[in-house]
Symmetry: D2
Subunit: 268 residues, 4 copies
């Protein structure tokens, strides 16, 4: 099922770790739709991941970059354009990590060094990516930038911890930078607020399985999968959505606007 929706489009995809990653599925779909791209991830994540396999499958090159390092990002943006032969049309930011979560610190017992590190990796990195693109004028007109987020930015999911606050910051960055990128460069910026997804990263969160099951029962169409998210991202990279910008787009089978489902209420 490919439509040539991204024929001739060039971009950068952050955050493909392994084949469970949303970024991995998106890379495969972008490739199928005719787009070309550079893959990138943090050096440490690349050691753990199978990103080389993805690069081979999609004919892509890999440029390691720490998304908290302005220097790395500037290098990435510059090299990507050289490799792909021109300015960029799309960028996917799929990066998130909370040190507090990893170290088992409760939200009411944060260690603030951890908090600052998680904020830098998960939220500020999106600003850094866009500022690198903006300052070097690396995006084509009507280009599209997408970051992945989660509804914890709007409502509390207790185990999501300080990632909730990071995602709220990230979504605000999308709006704020979207204003300037729109006005000055005709580039759109949006976030996709995705169902809980059993990626390798997601599975690290406490109680993740029961949460997936709850979300499934609360979503009239069921949870959106990583592949569903890749499909949706394709539409946002395509020329058919040029006037959608500064939006947080729920992609969740209806979870976000379901107050309670029949199946959930029956447990009470």
């Amino acid at each position: 099922m490919a439509y040539n929706l991204l024929k001739g489009k060039k971009g950068i995809i952050f955050g493909a770790l392994d084949e469970n990653s949303i970024a991995w599925k998106t890379a495969m779909s972008v490739h199928a739709e005719g787009g070309t791209f550079v893959l990138t991830n943090a050096p440490i994540a690349m050691r753990m991941g199978q990103i080389k396999e993805l690069a081979e499958k999609t004919g892509s090159q890999i440029i390691p970059a720490d998304a908290t390092s302005v220097e790395d990002l500037e290098n990435l943006v510059s090299q990507a354009q050289e490799i792909l032969g021109g300015k960029l049309d799309f960028v996917l930011h799929s990066i998130g990590m909370s040190v507090n979560v990893r170290k088992g610190r409760a939200y009411t017992d944060e260690k603030y060094d951890f908090t600052a590190k998680g904020w830098d990796v998960s939220a500020l990195s999106f600003h850094k990516v866009m500022q690198s693109l903006y300052k070097s004028d690396a995006m084509n007109e009507w280009g599209s930038i997408v970051a992945l987020t989660y509804m914890a930015a709007q409502r509390v999911f207790p185990d999501y911890n300080d990632m909730a606050d990071n995602k709220a910051y990230l979504e605000s960055v999308a709006r704020s930078f979207g204003y300037f990128f729109g006005k000055e460069k005709r580039v759109r910026v949006n976030t996709i607020s995705q169902s809980p997804t059993p990626t390798t990263a997601g599975q690290g969160v406490k109680g993740f399985d029961s949460f997936i099951s709850y979300a499934e029962k609360m979503s009239p169409l069921g949870n959106a999968s990583a592949q569903d998210c890749a499909d949706y991202t394709i539409t946002l990279f395509s020329d058919l959505t040029r006037k959608v910008t500064m939006q947080n787009l729920f992609h969740d089978g209806g979870f976000s606007n379901t107050g309670v489902s029949q199946e959930v209420i029956e447990k009470f």
Copy 2:
């Protein structure tokens, strides 16, 4: 620029009046993407419109229907399936009319017969359409229903009058019916909240030109046109957005999340 995104898909398109209509542009785009459909409009609107020209261009048949009449809608749904040779995949609801606006009644001086008529035409009609589809099991799994709306449902635009309240009702119907259509039939229901658009209908609203100009200056990417809206609707009818449901999707060049733009503030 066609991708075969809707190849083999069948549907109904409400509300094409003339070539300025969003529904007209959508019909043309759906046709270009390989979809087939029945066109419908109120008998009175059809007399004024050029819908026959559209039918010819797209190889479509026209079935007149008053969208406030359950009988007309049931007939439409039944005939459409017969003509198209099977269940439906997409429906576009693009219907709206306020008698209070037409008659020049202020929001603080409504005539309630007018209010009830406008509500029936603009808002309840969407429920009636969906109930007709639902009860006769006329939608294929993973079908997509879209209605057009406007941001006056969330924020006040003084001249929009009682259409604001009608649109709020319409958006609620999308969510409410979206729940049941999702759970029972795997069908998604969304609304697109479109920029002010200089359609023949839109132009009837008082002060419309200055409003279009204001919105243009408040939208970092400029107002979304009728053709932009058609493009976006195509993505929502396609198989790439299967898990998007019960959403109100702003398609407005960023207006909805812009508090003020530089160009607007400079007037103060």
Copy 3:
């Protein structure tokens, strides 16, 4: 616990049926805070209710009025000012009824006569009340108008049926009329989106008990009671909230911004 917050203020309270009613509790609290008012309800509701007892306790007069009748409302507004000796400072609209719910019609099987009746009673009545007040210039500057609503206007609660759409309309009316009442008369208009409350009316809804229990477990502070709502309404009638207008205010122990609670997730 009384503070004289409403000393000298005059108003109208709609919808007190019996001592479980939010309007009943509000009347008692307004009285304790020094306000005076006229009580009103539909003639039919008054036959069932114990409103005379409330009138005696609060030294109030009762003026029956069908809130769908402009004539009744104009009479009410006029008489209330006569009885109370001047213009009004506050109005509480606590009216809602769905014929579809009463008759056991599912949301996907609405009878549209029922729908129209419920919309008129539950939603349009709020416009009619305000238009009567506005046209006869019955409100003092810095007066406050409050209507009660429910979060089904934003998210689907399947058994809430067409009341969800009515509440969405009602909330839009609050915004729309709030704009004009603010600009022209310095009067504020807000809605309180209250926890599910075991009033006599609320208890008629199918599955209400399990829903109350679910909401209790989803609300970090527990459900807000009818008395809590009366307390909150007092603050909105007082002079301390003069610049709050056109808002929908969640009063629900935190339910609205809780994605899931620990107690709910443990059931999965």
Copy 4:
């Protein structure tokens, strides 16, 4: 105009700089309503401010604290309880500062050391305050914590710069911590999203005067003043709003739900 609404209640008020400050007005109003409190500010802000005058007027003590220092906050929380003779009932967080704004860096040209410092002062400080209160069990049941914020967290105001993202983070912290403070301690946490206010801090922002004028014309009731905000905060500290939590409450004369006003559209 005092009602004894806060008789016997104890608290901490952050951020009173001079008599234009919202925190200053709030301190005066809390005092008038019978509450007692400790005043605090950053050592550097205190040198510039007239906080001693406020302390004298309200019979309060001052405890300097850097709100980014956990040690300072723990000391503050402990000393405040000692001075006031018991646990706390209310806390006001009114702290915000962007180094990027001060240094004239555009949003698309942030210096990330500045960004991190501003985030720590403006956003993370609210988490630090609450964590200090929570861990030392310093709040009484049904206590109330309020932070001030601005609508730039939802929509872009170009000159507001990275404070927009900081406020989005702050509001998320209110929700996240509100969940745990609600469940475990029966304490509520809310943010007030205030009109642009000509405080000494606010006036530092570029183009602030024309922005105030624009907001005035967009708000049906006009901008809310610092004193209006103090009044509103009193209601949130009182016992009348016990079930309001995890909310972001717009206090802005209706700006937030006004799409455009007649006066603004007339400029186009």
